[in-house]
């Protein structure tokens, strides 16, 4: 299903996203093949990636923002190469790591959000407002001056997410977002995901989370073995993992 994302829109409720193209991509990490000849054009609003541990889900996401370079093939995000134009891609594509502690760099919440903005050249005068607005939008304005190490796991994840949203990306990549959360926080994340205007690509074991997505890819040993409707994809994954 080919869909063109609107490149400019004044309608703030219009969906936002990018076209991500994997062209015959192989990735080698630590001497092992992590992705094997992956080809796909990703344009949908909600895309899921399922696979067992070590199947290559994380590598797929990291490759989109140029954290791992393909040994063969290319990845383009709205036409920009993920490796040679990584900076531009990272300005519009956020990656939420599985462990929020790895992603939060500053000891105080507000300062960490400011870090993201400063990296992308946002003027100092604007930083304060954008940090406040983003925290507000996620319902964690009260955490602005708090210290990271005093927060719960769920709160840390929200802070990490805020750190990505503050630069107003077009696409968000999620690496196993619910695997370390309890039920309450898992539900909260599902709610957030439903309301998120940005395109989202989610690598997860949480089959319920992906159930109402637009498209789900099943990865096995670095290869895409199924690509299509969530229900069928999930069924395939379950069957093949038995």
């Amino acid at each position: 299903m080919e869909r063109q994302w609107p490149t400019e829109t004044t309608d703030t409720t219009a969906p936002i996203g990018q076209t991500i193209v994997f062209a015959d991509v192989s990735v080698v990490r630590d001497g092992a093949i992590a992705l094997r000849r992956v080809s796909a054009t990703l344009t949908e609003r909600r895309i899921g990636v399922v696979g067992l541990n070590g199947s290559g889900k994380s590598t797929l996401l990291k490759a989109i923002v140029g954290l791992v370079a393909p040994s063969e093939g290319t990845i383009a995000v709205d036409g920009r190469d993920a490796v040679t134009e990584a900076r531009a891609v990272r300005a519009t594509t956020g990656l939420l790591f599985q462990n929020p502690d790895s992603q939060i760099v500053f000891p105080i919440v507000g300062d960490d959000l400011a870090f993201g903005l400063k990296n992308h050249g946002v003027a100092r005068a604007e930083v304060g407002d954008r940090v406040a607005t983003t925290l507000e939008r996620l319902g964690i304005a009260r955490l602005a001056e708090r210290r990271i190490h005093e927060l719960s796991g769920g709160e840390k994840q929200l802070v990490a997410l805020a750190g990505l949203l503050v630069i107003e990306p077009k696409t968000l990549l999620f690496d196993e977002p619910t695997s370390q959360l309890d039920l309450k926080n898992r539900n909260r994340l599902r709610g957030l995901l439903a309301d998120l205007p940005q395109q989202a690509i989610v690598a997860s074991h949480d089959l319920e989370l992906l159930a109402d997505f637009d498209r789900v890819l099943v990865i096995e040993a670095g290869r895409i073995v199924f690509d299509g409707e969530p229900a069928a994809a999930i069924a395939t994954h379950i069957e093949r993992s038995a």
């Binding site: 990656l95 462990n99 502690d101 870090f115 400063k118 050249g121 190490h149």
Partner: protein, 206 residues
């Protein structure tokens, strides 16, 4: 996150700019090493103690802060005096006491932010020579502060896990898994920093 010892306050020393205090400390320290008069040095030491107490930290806390170095100074003095080098002791002890209390007073009355600014200004010439990148240096320090509590927590977890298995504390058994976790985390953090667009372009409008 650990807190710095410095604080903001209203005492005269608090209100002096950081640069003045640091330069003053450097000058006084140099002078102290040149002076050889025990009486003069003792007077300076007494003044230094008074200055340190003027910061409002309190006698007990100040004594605790400086317990180790003061104890060492006392030991040095006792040894020198006991071995007949009383004159040496009469100079060394007040000199070190003066240095310790003055330096500590500067630390107590200068906030971390002020010190960091002065530090950055001090690094500026090295940056112009291309020897150091102040932005990366600052980020490195911030990262270190940020992760201390997490690593302390991980050390605690490892120790508890081993105690639960009935193993006594062996340093290697604690440090090896801790170091591995730290190294793994370092790689993840580096990836996250890259993914968040660090470093900023030099010609951004900041």
């Amino acid at each position: 996150m650990i807190d710095g010892l410095g604080s903001t306050g209203t005492t005269p020393l608090h209100r002096l700019p950081a640069g003045v205090k640091l330069a003053g400390l450097a000058v006084i320290a140099t002078v102290l090493f040149v002076v050889r008069e025990p009486m003069v040095l003792t007077a300076v030491a007494a003044a230094a103690i008074a200055v340190a107490l003027s910061t409002g930290r309190g006698v007990a806390a100040t004594a605790r802060d400086l317990a180790l170095p003061l104890g060492l100074v006392a030991a040095i003095g006792a040894v020198e005096w006991g071995l007949g080098d009383g004159e040496v002791a009469a100079c060394v002890v007040p000199r070190l006491v003066a240095l310790l209390f003055l330096a500590h007073a500067v630390t107590l009355t200068t906030s971390t932010a002020e010190l960091a600014e002065t530090f950055e200004a001090g690094l500026a010439p090295f940056e112009r020579l291309g020897l150091i990148d102040a932005g990366r240096a600052a980020l490195t320090l911030t990262l270190a502060i940020r992760f201390v509590p997490l690593i302390v927590e991980e050390a605690r977890e490892i120790r508890e896990a081993q105690a639960a298995r009935g193993l006594s504390i062996r340093p290697t058994a604690l440090i090896v898994p801790l170091v591995v976790r730290v190294l793994v985390r370092a790689e993840e953090v580096a990836d996250a920093i890259d993914a968040r667009g660090f470093p900023p372009n030099k010609n951004s409008n900041m």
